[in-house]
Symmetry: C3
């Protein structure tokens, strides 16, 4: 989708150096209109199953997007004033127009952030609003957006098609019955929405309700999840079901990059301890680490690609978590050790070319020091794109500059939008394509690569690598 | 102060890309002549109290500035040869002209460093020297500088006014009677010189003479500092006095970012142990961490802004420290963990919008990984500017590029010069303004921000944010 | 050697900004043809002793260069298919033409990497091949390269002279009799090939065969290496021999930057434990750390410059190591702590200007945080150039940008090629000279340095600093 409004300049994010900009433009022409392949994200499958209109502007953009409202919160605006619900249902602002005015008034806080780039794209290009996000326009924008959202053309399936999404993966827990995915399949709609297997709730002993969750896993699968064998079989069975619903990957949100290769007796002991709520923090880390290794072992059978997203200190703000729950903008990156953490798994399975494990990081120091050298050696490893806070112009440039010289383009896997903000998907892919073209143009202008090669790489980065890495080309 | 000599190019530090440079020039025009607000530094209040002429060039520039002489020392020139006094008063070079010649001869060592930018600005713009810093000119420069320094126009208050300093904060220990600040207030001079509360000597059990210092605190305040309550009351009393002398902030130079929220019994035990010199390194760290939390708690009452400057391994060079004392260029940055370190304090006070805590770092890896996400969430937190070694063109650009996309401009607090080198203050603020304009010009040229917005941000960064963050706008 | 083929653009690696590029060109003109001084590398002295023709293209370029074949391996190509021998001599591809075709087919994997820059330079400039590295040209290139390699002009000594190498250091173990170096000296050939003293095998208790190696050291020197005194004397004796064979430096490949200053009793205990194979990992680290300090102490007598290359997790891939041995692309960088690690040594010898210790790193976070402040203070310390994975355009730029503002150019030591790939030596030095000129041109264009100064610095970085740092100017 080519932005054409005055709000999103056609040359945005390219270098201002004229020779680089010209080449970036030409490269971008090659990739601009390629379909969107979104192998990892957190959109809600019910949108595509039920195809109901989205709510109002505040409900669509602000309330579910902790990446946006955290910035207002950081400047002293309370979450209830932003319409965020507390756990106990105590008072919060229900006048969403009033919340929208606050958002508009403080929109200047986002200057220079990717949030602004994405939101401007959604507002002006997708929704066609042609006044700027200023307090004086708050009501007009609110009304125009709401009118659009209530129309046929802005229902989820219509947008999916308009966004030229070739494939979109959501993320579900093994406990999820995947009803919405079944509904989508049964509906006859041609949109390709698949699931991904995210077992944190049943493999992380520190996850809320771990023991209950594993109990539910037993109920769903009919396996005895109190035994190590039964527990693994239950997971395998759910993987099979997810695969039948289109999944080609698993995803793991661990606090560390620890992996383990423990004895069977030790595994049994840790499982029992985990279910009894009796593991130390270190033991819980070991158990998760063992489950990473088991996850990879299962891929030998079912070919699911493994994604590891480590390094977030979730819910760092304890009082806020207690009052408002998860996902309130208080997940903070931590230093992450891949070189020691991954070694047990890599020494077991790292040399197996059939396997594929995609690494992400919230610790940019690991790009050049650990991740690029590891992925530049082990057949099993690939690098996911710049993640979360670093899914940004500067973040993406740092990723390329700090990884590419060691690991090359072909140990990376194209772009992930990783978003629950459906409206921002075109903006996010567009941003990634622009930055990759910009980086390639720099290489061309500095005579580090020919323009012909750069054109090929640009298409690889925007389209081909992601399909290959997530096995979307393979027969199902 | 606009440099106009041939030694400091008017376009210096701007990008050489013509489109960026043109915009940077226009933005810089907007901020170049704004008054200097210096909320954190280490100038000597006696200069402004007594208003005596500075000594000779060597005494003014080289001997007190360990950031300068450490570079000569690193190349094998001994400290006594540079006129640096030993603790025991053993022989040192007292012919300051001779020292100046050495400095001039080795001035090429500073090529590409911010020290050179600051010194060139001071020498050529402030002091009006119009020959380059070459050995052949050493004597001429020495004589000309000394002549200037002995004139009326170069006395401290005259320079303060000429530098257009609107407000200047010094830093004092709670044990300091603030006599010089009182003298300034009594003098009728209009220059706004205030103090800041730096309690390291009485809250850090590893500080030289901690126990004696706490004893002095008892003498000054009349409180029983052997009891936890009395100790806290003594600190509160001194804060009140500092506030009456203009202080709006406290400052803390801890080795780590540890904070704590201990039981009363534990606090009492650590205080007793600290006074008896019996704490382990870990206990000392816990005590300092508890005192960070107490400091913030006290701000609930007196509104002082809290500054944390962690991560320096002070006096790394033990034999040099023993012979020459503190501040000899041997303070080395260490890796610093903010995400775990600050959590006890943040979980206690992090959600309180009335409080303000400004974080600095010597570990640039924390910019994007920890500091920007933390300040982009917690209402209490703001980010101080690039500090110490990173108060430089490349350092400041890294700071903006690695923090702004996550935390935005409005969770930062403008510039701190943090210097004891009074002559370099205009140069330091000028450098910061230039680099910010350069960064903004880049955003404008890449269509990430409009020039109108950039103009507003430039003024915020140079003037408005610092006044707001340090509460200089508020009624006293 | 000036590239003139169409494959290596004369402006490559310079900024595309016209003003910067023009200045970079002028600076590069000054250094392009300076002789190569290579103070640290891993070429094989037998090449210059025996002066035999190199083997075929695959044997010369691919099989010995784990930096190249690791990339093919990371994409699933097996090492035996690349002609890499297993330890047990089991089957491997012996048709080197076939291996060459694989290399050519997958050459696109190296896009944007320094490997490609070096290889393109060697292939097109040194070997004069004028078709691109595409599968369709694989056989032609293979044949042409092999023909060249079998000619007189491509024998090692002829290339050494053609490359304008003024001095080349190899690296040998204290157990090496230096026969080849003796042969070179006896031959009357004028090429200046010297050795460097790399004692890892006899000072690292975790090195394969440590105890046996120390036994051999006893045999060679006639000292009783089971006693601490005898062990040190044996090392000193070998250093003397190496020095007689031209060595001006020692080199140390430790996993950490630990140093130690232990009691004599503790040293004796650790030596005994090491020889008995009974040290814990921590004790082994302490022993290596003590040996760093002893190494520096010995330099007080023999003036050898000490190089420390820490931070590599060698042979991270255990199954691969067991099957194929060392140096198979599985050495992964680790986070490295210099500030605490080096302190015992620095507090003992750091203030001694006669000594020189050159630090390298695989942890780029240490550049601005630890290495630049340390080298900007301690007389003994200098910084080696960007090392290993960071010996690349982006890596070298990061090195300068993150170190120069704090430590200056004159605490660095010019370039090290650190290579066993002889054919790539001109390319590597050319790349370093280009990037330094580019960096300097940027400083000039941003008015941070005059062009006249930049010219002087460019020559220092390309030629003078390395000769000074490695004491090649001194009488022998």
């Amino acid at each position: 989708m080519k932005p054409c409004s005055p709000f999103n300049h056609p040359d945005r994010l390219f270098s201002s150096d004229p020779s680089q900009r010209n080449i970036a433009r030409r490269l971008y022409e090659e990739v601009r209109d390629l379909p969107i392949v979104s192998p990892h994200g957190h959109t809600d499958p019910s949108w595509f199953a039920l195809n109901q209109n989205f709510g109002n502007a505040t409900e669509l953009f602000l309330i579910p997007d902790h990446y946006l409202f955290r910035m207002l919160y950081s400047q002293g605006i309370s979450l209830p004033d932003l319409g965020i619900l507390t756990r106990d249902g105590s008072l919060t602002e229900t006048d969403h127009r009033k919340v929208w005015r606050i958002f508009t008034e403080y929109y200047y806080l986002f200057r220079g952030t990717p949030s602004k780039i994405w939101f401007d794209h959604a507002l002006h290009e997708v929704l066609g609003i042609n006044v700027p996000m200023l307090l004086e326009n708050a009501d007009q924008i609110y009304d125009e957006v709401n009118a659009k959202l209530s129309s046929e053309a802005f229902r989820p399936r219509a947008l999916f098609e308009r966004f030229q999404i070739e494939i979109l993966a959501t993320t579900e827990s093994p406990l999820d019955p995947l009803t919405h995915h079944q509904t989508i399949r049964d509906s006859g709609w041609q949109g390709n929405v698949i699931t991904a297997f995210r077992p944190d709730s049943v493999v992380d002993p520190e996850f809320e309700g771990f023991s209950e969750n594993v109990g539910k896993l037993a109920d769903i699968t009919g396996e005895n999840t109190n035994s190590w064998d039964g527990y693994l079989k239950a997971l395998q069975q759910r993987r099979e079901y997810f695969k039948a619903m289109g999944a080609t990957s698993t995803d793991h949100g661990h606090p560390t990059a620890t992996t383990a290769d423990l004895s069977r007796a030790e595994c049994e002991r840790l499982l029992s301890g985990g279910l009894a709520g009796e593991l130390s923090a270190k033991e819980a880390d070991q158990f998760r680490g063992q489950m990473m290794t088991e996850t990879v072992r299962m891929s030998l059978d079912d070919d699911l690609v493994v994604q590891l997203h480590p390094g977030s200190f979730r819910n760092h703000n304890q009082p806020l978590f207690e009052r408002f729950g998860r996902d309130k903008g208080a997940d903070i990156p931590m230093a992450t050790d891949y070189v020691n953490g991954l070694r047990p798994l890599l020494n077991k399975f790292g040399n197996e070319p059939r396997l594929s494990m995609i690494l992400f990081t919230l610790d940019e120091t690991s790009y050049s020091r650990e991740l690029a050298p590891l992925a530049g050696h082990y057949p099993i490893l690939k690098l996911g794109p710049a993640w979360w806070f670093y899914d940004s112009p500067e973040g993406m440039l740092r990723f390329r500059r700090q990884t590419n010289e060691t690991t090359g383009f072909y140990n990376t896997v194209g772009f992930n939008d990783d978003t629950r903000a459906f409206m921002s998907i075109p903006a996010r892919h567009d941003l990634a394509r622009r930055i990759d073209c910009r980086y390639l143009a720099e290489l061309v202008c500095e005579h580090r690569m020919s323009e012909e090669e750069a054109r090929e790489v640009a298409i690889d980065l925007a389209y081909r690598l992601v399909k290959k890495a997530y096995r979307f080309n393979e027969e199902k």
